[in-house]
């Protein structure tokens, strides 16, 4: 591991913001800390940045302990949700500030600033003041400022949350491109699962100050470990073993034997839906979402969500039959329900 956090603990009075959290980032890896607000993900990022002090545990970079090192000596780059460009400096001065502090000659700074402005595709704004730029532009400058000093780690604190949808998607791709090109190990905090799925090599899903599950985006989406992860990573149908027995009996055999309370997690696109006069389920409503159709279906065990691509003959009120392939179901631990995820 390049950057390691071991048993990180942070208390605010009697509130435990982080409870013995351990994570790691490999060289060149893009890691997303994902979780609902208040789950401790920003606290963890601030501890790594050196903006807050650990109450327990250890943070090491290539084996060297960082705990006693103030933020300014860590050599990390950070981008905040609020852009946080220095309003009294021009764009070029903002980007070059870290280099100026390091005593880099003026001409070298100018060359590096020009190069970075090209990299973030804003070559013409060097002499503008931050206030003259749009939010998306400001955030790109903030990104350029953070990577100007060749940071050992790039920390992104919800960098896209303040932007509107279209700009967000653009900047998301740009962040990914820049990170890939420079190979900077990056840790991004986000509460948006779609963002995490699109960007991350590894997602660390957090809740209540602890890591719930860490893995690749595919792992977390297709093989969630708990009900919380299943619900947080997109839409899922969660069925009790009894429900499964009634509705999809052939899904039962792969169920692991662990004694914990378990639920079957079936993603909406894994359900085959066909009109059938003798079907036991009925289509209650259909939302057309462009690339797909989302159907709310009343089944004998309660409402289910089904998504279909392309044309589908089902109409509201139709009786339908449902089928799920045996390998399309994951058994998850029934922990706590997650706040409802925002549908894509």
């Amino acid at each position: 591991m390049y950057l390691t956090v071991r048993d990180a603990t942070k208390l605010y009075g009697t509130f435990t913001a982080l409870d013995r959290v351990s994570i790691g980032i490999e060289k060149g890896e893009f890691v997303c800390l994902l979780g609902p607000s208040g789950c401790g993900k920003t606290t963890l990022l601030r501890l790594i940045a050196g903006l807050a002090d650990l109450d327990g545990g250890k943070i090491t970079l290539e084996g060297a302990d960082l705990s006693q090192m103030p933020a300014r000596k860590r050599g990390f780059g950070i981008v905040f949700q609020s852009y946080s460009l220095f309003p009294n400096m021009t764009v070029a001065e903002n980007i070059g500030y870290g280099l100026k502090i390091r005593g880099v000659p003026r001409s070298d700074i100018a060359a590096r600033v020009a190069e970075l402005l090209d990299l973030v595709k804003l070559p013409q704004v060097a002499e503008n003041m931050p206030g003259q730029l749009s939010g998306g532009q400001q955030q790109r400058i903030a990104l350029a400022r953070a990577i100007a000093v060749d940071p050992q780690v790039l920390l992104l604190d919800e960098p896209l949350s303040a932007l509107d949808a279209k700009v967000r998607a653009e900047l998301r791709d740009q962040i990914r491109q820049v990170q890939r090109a420079l190979g900077i190990p990056t840790l991004m905090v986000t509460h948006d699962q779609e963002e995490a799925l699109a960007l991350a090599d590894k997602i660390i899903c957090m809740n209540h100050g602890s890591v719930v599950q860490a893995g690749t985006p595919e792992d977390l989406y297709h093989r969630p470990a708990t009900r919380f992860v299943a619900q947080f990573m997109g839409i899922s149908n969660l069925l009790t073993p009894e429900d499964v027995t009634r509705l999809f009996p052939d899904l039962l055999p792969p169920r692991p034997a662990t004694p914990k309370a378990q639920l079957a997690c079936i993603r909406p696109e894994q359900v085959d839906i066909t009109p059938a006069a003798d079907g036991t389920a009925m289509v209650r409503s259909i939302s057309f979402l462009g690339n797909l159709r989302r159907l709310e279906v009343d089944s004998p065990v309660g409402p289910l969500t089904v998504e279909t691509h392309g044309t589908n003959p089902c109409r509201t009120g139709d009786p339908v039959s449902l089928r799920v392939a045996p390998d399309a179901c994951t058994w998850v631990i029934d922990d706590a329900p997650a706040p409802k995820a925002v549908p894509a």
């Binding site: 603990t9 109450d55 300014r72 905040f80 220095f86 009294n88 500030y97 502090i101 003259q132 000093v149």
Partner: protein
Amino acid sequence: MSASETIRRPSRHRTFDSDRLLTAACVGLPLLGLILFFAYPMLIVFLRSITVDEGYGMGNYVQVLGSSGFWRATRHSLAMGGATTLLSVFLGFIIAQGLYRCAFPGKWLIRAVIVLPLLAPSLVQALGLIFLLGRNGVISRALGVEIEIYGFWGLLIANTLYALPQAVMIIGAALVLLDARTYEAADVMGASPWRQFRDLTLPSARFGILNAGFVCFIITITDFGNAAVIGGDYSVLATEIYSQVVGQRNFNMGAVVGIMLLLPTVIAYAIERQAMKRQQAGQTTGQVAYRPVFAPLRDLGMAGLSLLICAAIVAVIGIVVYASFVTLWPYNMSLSFKHYDITLAGGYSSLWMTILISLGAAVGGTIAVFLLGLGLRRLPQALAQPVQILAAMPAAVPGMVLGLAYILTFNSTATPLYLLYGSAALIGIVNFYHYHTQGFLTVMTGFRQLPPALEEAAGSLGAGLGRTARDVVAPFIAPMLVSVFFFLFMRSMVTLSAVVFLTTPQLSVAAVTIMRLDDAGLTSQAAAFSTCVMAVVCGAVLAMKMILALMQRRRG
């Protein structure tokens, strides 16, 4: 293993970090100043008030409380404070309502005129009234009546003019907060303008009005200049301290009266701070500013009233400037510069000295409150809070009491602080600590607007505290620093109450010179000297406006 076993408390003993040392210095030095030049002198005043021949006792209090002179002065102070408060809040509300809730042209003129009394030593109002309504006053002579301007009525008018700018500013700030959409909603619901005023405007402005009332009360009962010039036989607590200390050289008794004057101001100040908090609590973000539309009956009436009040201010201040040029008031009204040749010993030296002292107080004071604000941000709340409370305390202390505290503290050979006595530096210091609270609170407002992420961004780019302060924090709150600088400069130029005890025959300041000129019967020269002070302060105001406008433009 439970969580608590593995959790280490935040370590207090981190490895050496120069930023921690710098933070300690940022808070420590201004704090040392506050203790040495505010807390300690106030303690001395208290101790002196209970000092009797052999040790401590309540003898002085018994003596003061038993004297009819003290009770008369107290009665007068409270009556004058109450009357001035009512009048200035009433007039201030009219002007604020006109400025922020009515539509008529020429508001800039009202705004400009209303601050005039702040740009002059307080005794200028009194001088102006004497030139207007005194025995040889313009109005008295024109009407052929003899008006007794010395005493309650003259002092009431002078104090009201002096307190009015504060009332307008505070009430105006409360009125500006009212959201236009609230009024649109009321319109749609069919509320008449009068109902809107009664049900929306008045209730929302009530804390502003309350706040203005307490501020006016404090200003009035602590003011010395007006009372000294136009009070006549109407003795108030401020003049009582002066006569005890300067007239009878009775320092302990002066200390007792000072403590007695401190009581009402501390109470009023405490209530005012609470009212201020309640008013701020009512603020919401994303407001839509109220844009009044022209309503002839309301607006012409309000414009007329506002202009009338402004005319009175212009008349009182203007007559002083005019009189300074009149050859021999009221017998030879031809104009000349002869009164600008100051005949009192020292001449204009005190004016230059005052400018120098004011610059020193402004520079040193601005730096001190900036460092304090910078350091407090990095201190845990439990440590920062007591410092903040101490920093906000000087506003509760009347200038007379602070001045008296200084003379008792620094004119004693018991400590090395004696070296400062009689120096210009000490006058600069007393001016700064007299107005410490306002400067500190202004800078803190600036610091509150500074997003923590800006400093964190600078920190993660490698900037230490010193560098962050210089490159990021100071430029961000520069407008506040400019305001504090000029506020301290202007107050130091015109203040009288705190410095009146600290001047010596060799070292005087402008306001004291004006008082001496007036005492010596050289009223026209006093007017001339006042005009010079006002010219300097007006120049400072213009410079401040220009600098702030330039900053605004550069930031885009």
